[in-house]
Symmetry: C2
Subunit: 153 residues, 2 copies
Amino acid sequence: MLDYDPATCAIGGAVAILGDRPTFLVLREAFMGVRRFGDMLRRTAMPRQVLADRLAHLVAEGLLRKAAYRDAGQRTRHEYRLTAKGLDLYPVLVALMQWGDRYAAGSAGAPILLTHRDCGEPVTLGLVCGARHELDSARDVTPLPGPGARKIA
Amino acid sequence: MLDYDPATCAIGGAVAILGDRPTFLVLREAFMGVRRFGDMLRRTAMPRQVLADRLAHLVAEGLLRKAAYRDAGQRTRHEYRLTAKGLDLYPVLVALMQWGDRYAAGSAGAPILLTHRDCGEPVTLGLVCGARHELDSARDVTPLPGPGARKIA
DNA sequence: CAGTATCCCAAGCGATACTG
DNA sequence: CAGTATCGCTTGGGATACTG
């Protein structure tokens, strides 16, 4: 067991930003290409206030940005788009989806299939080491103190 | 944009089980090898009640199991260990950690380094397709309706 | 349409004390 | 040591109404 400092572990920091359930759902919608307030409201079925809060939070954290756009002949509206920081969260969402497909899904199978845009093959998330070995389980990983390690408790 | 049914997306199911911040922290500790109530209490600095709740929840969901053990000459105690279902959550935690190291960490760098047990090389989580292409971004992924798809909203 | 304002109520936190 | 019991209090959810 690694003797690391829980306070510095990045999981805590990440979870502090991502926060709670509604936030994850908003991010899911964003990755699915939903960009408008009303669409998110309908699809996530969360109260307006909650959605507004989470969107504001995600914008403040730099995961989403508010972008103006105008359809021809319409007045200006705006939409929420993922920033680079937000896009980099993709593995987290995919990992959740893969686990959910396996353990929290109905018997019907995965409702969404991720495929490689270039070749069409299904995409999965996996652990790979620097020597290109593919690891199957958490048991194949040894955690060590990193550059920013401070051992405490 | 994929026209999927938000209600059946496995991300929702996964997040419904994993729940909230404290739950993630408990899981983090479990993956770090912390198994005892008191250790988790001290390291996560959460109220006893909250920890007890989350542990019970994770046991009920089948992510942790309570195992009895006895050190020589001591009375029986028990500890919390990850089940297979819990261990399979590892990519989620690693993904959170990688993102946190990049965006939520101090300047000191990652406090924890994951290495391959067999060869010692650093381990990373990545998207790979069936044709062994490595994908860099969410933009390289095309979501399609899967076997369990029901399109609604 | 895209939010903000308001209000009420339920859930959950945090502290302290107690039990096996 | 490993929890359970209790409690005050704050946070945050959910509904409704209002504004640009």
